[in-house]
């Protein structure tokens, strides 16, 4: 309607957007500003309500629930008892160890493997389309299908993996049934299922690297590894660090894979993750207070981690 609402592109991209709009507001007059805001908020309202009900309010509610108890239909304040309950539960510490182990392994596999695959694929002058399609194929499968497939492969009796090891004359493994290899097996399955997305993103990033940089490095006599270290990685650093953050946040909330592969706990609880423990408290033990308390701990840790990460990566950019 009115020209001022449609700010020019330059103004949009300036960081001090709020300031500049306030300056304009004073010029456009109250009635116009109100009308502009009304319609702007009308556009926003649907999403904002959804966020309010299903995202922001639950966050607040997590705090409230963590300090409440429900018994016989009566909800009362529980003080710190939910938190002491979870801290006294041996499964709590085990779940954290398992989740961190999963995150660590997932970084080795889920983070490094797609990057190496992308670097390799990017060198090929042939068949890239086919290879990309292959890597992305599992992403399109329903997760239950992929996970159950791996469950069959891991079966120590009739499973495919032990058959392959047998053919190669390697010792057979217990896979999901051994406390030492259970989590690793979960990570391998998860990597197979999910690496497609990351690989494609890395490939796109790699294709944005100017070729002259490699040429310059070669003039300096750099070999393959040094070129990767000094050109490829720095050039894709932004994407890499963003993906690292996403990966860590994603792996901290792993549920589906261990739930379907080992029933959740795994041998002696070795695949019990924090989110599975939340699920167990709430839906097996009917103890929503402790579930919320555990969710709260995870929420606070993740929020703290993200904030620290963003801060660190910002300061390293400057």
């Amino acid at each position: 309607m009115s020209a001022p609402t449609l700010a020019t592109n330059e103004a949009q991209q300036r960081p001090g957007q709020l300031g500049s709009s306030r300056a304009k507001n004073s010029r456009e007059g109250f009635a116009r500003a109100l009308r502009r805001n009304l319609s702007a908020h009308a556009f926003l309202i649907g999403a904002v309500l959804c966020f309010a009900f299903f995202s922001w309010f639950p966050m607040v509610r997590e705090f409230i629930l963590a300090f409440q108890k429900t018994k016989g239909g009566q909800t009362t304040w529980a003080g710190w008892s939910n938190l002491t309950y979870i801290f006294n539960d041996p499964a709590f510490w085990q779940a954290w160890r398992n989740t961190l182990l999963f995150t660590g392994l997932a970084l080795v596999f889920g983070f490094a493997v797609p990057f190496l695959v992308a670097v390799t694929l990017n060198e090929f002058r042939h068949g890239q389309g086919y290879l990309r399609m292959l890597v992305y194929l599992p992403v399109m499968l329903p997760p239950v299908a992929s996970v159950l497939l791996f469950k069959y492969f891991y079966d120590p009796g009739y499973g495919l993996f032990n058959r392959v090891l047998q053919i190669l004359h390697l010792p057979q493994q217990q896979w999901l049934q051994d406390t030492h290899t259970a989590m690793l097996s979960v990570v391998i399955a998860a990597t197979w299922m999910n690496m497609g997305g990351a690989t494609l993103i890395y490939l796109a990033a790699l294709q944005g690297i100017p070729g002259e940089l490699y040429e310059a490095a070669e003039l300096d006599g750099a070999g393959l590894l040094r070129k990767i270290w000094h050109v490829t990685i720095p050039q894709t650093r932004l994407i890499l660090s963003l993906m690292l953050l996403m990966q860590i946040i994603a792996t901290m909330q792993v549920f589906t894979e261990p739930f379907l592969l080992t029933g959740g706990e795994g041998p002696e609880g070795s695949t019990t993750t924090v989110v599975y423990l939340i699920y167990q408290y709430a839906f097996y033990f009917n103890n929503y207070g402790s579930a919320a308390a555990l969710g709260l701990v995870l929420l606070v840790l993740l929020a703290g981690f993200s904030a620290a990460y963003v801060r660190l990566s910002r300061s390293s950019e400057d």
């Binding site: 020019t8 949009q12 999403a47 399609m133 499968l141 709430a282 839906f283 969710g295």
Partner: protein, 291 residues
């Protein structure tokens, strides 16, 4: 595709370079085919085996006798068509809600600059740092009795559709794309007296097709792949999604039928993917990076 990459063309031109290139290439092609198509082959043939042969050690690489009946049994007994339709209904409903609400919100945040716009955007983006599963308990309790409305959303499609709108990543992608639209274009529309809705509809959306494609894929795939949330909120077997339905049926049918069911369940998206491969992957990489 002719851009200069890690290995110099000169190196590749030499005989030794060529040998190494083709060896690596052949190995990668073989290994990738095995790793990514192998399981699918196993799934397709596993569904053709008899129950006894399926659990036989060592596994056979090709069924000794073919039992295509497994597929029809799985289809009938597990009511896969029903599960499939449910999932599509949830996925496309979620897509519609996201396209309407998230596009409107991103447009408003990008172009209409409402008061508190930055704050709202910040609060939305903050949810990216706190994954949904962490909030599963309070979210679950919320949908049991939605505040103010006092509706129980359990077993209704709304329980999938409405929370799917809280997709901050999609809003972020959309907003960034809208930010990059030249202001002159919108100014011109405004000069012609177009309302904001009209500008959004006939100027912004047509040039946003690539990003809308990406967002749509994310929206549909998000519902398609979700497991914990639909498992909790759609307990009625008649309303379950494909993932949850197969999971809850898994212990109730012979293994060979189950594998046949997995094969059938995988087919629709695999077909869509193979047909629209180029568009999907092109859109994903472009959107993920430049969005």
């Amino acid at each position: 595709m002719t851009t200069r990459t890690l290995i110099s063309p000169a190196q590749l031109g030499r005989t030794r370079g060529k040998v190494v290139y083709w060896t690596v290439f052949a190995v990668v092609i073989a290994v990738f085919t095995l790793v990514f198509l192998g399981p699918l082959y196993w799934m397709a043939t596993g569904g053709l085996k008899s129950a006894q042969e399926f659990v036989q050690a060592p596994p056979t690489s090709f069924p000794k006798s073919l039992h295509p009946g497994n597929y029809s049994q799985a289809w009938r007994v597990m009511d896969l068509s029903h599960l499939l339709l449910n999932t599509l209904w949830y996925a496309f409903g979620a897509l519609a809600f996201q396209l309407v609400f998230d596009v409107a919100a991103a447009y408003s945040l990008s172009r209409l600059r409402p008061v508190f716009g930055k704050l709202i955007l910040g609060m939305m983006l903050a949810t990216l740092m706190i994954p949904a599963t962490v909030l599963v308990v309070p979210q679950y309790i919320t949908v049991l009795d939605v505040p103010l409305f006092h509706r129980n959303l359990l077993n209704s499609p709304w329980v999938i559709w409405l929370p799917s709108v809280t997709n901050a990543f999609n809003i972020f992608l959309l907003k960034r794309f809208f930010d990059s639209i030249p202001g002159e274009l919108l100014d011109a529309a405004a000069m012609d007296g177009a309302s904001r809705l009209r500008t959004l509809w006939s100027v912004v959306l047509p040039i946003s097709r690539p990003i809308l494609g990406v967002v749509s894929i994310f929206a549909v795939v998000g519902v398609w792949k979700d497991f914990l949330w639909p498992m909790l909120t759609l307990p009625d077997p008649g309303k379950q999604t494909l993932n949850v339905g197969i999971y809850s049926l898994a212990s109730g049918v012979p293994e060979n039928w189950l594998v046949a069911a997995l094969g059938i369940a995988s087919l629709p998206t695999l077909l869509i993917f193979l047909l629209f491969q180029r568009n999907i992957m092109g859109g994903l990489t472009a959107g993920g990076l430049k969005g």
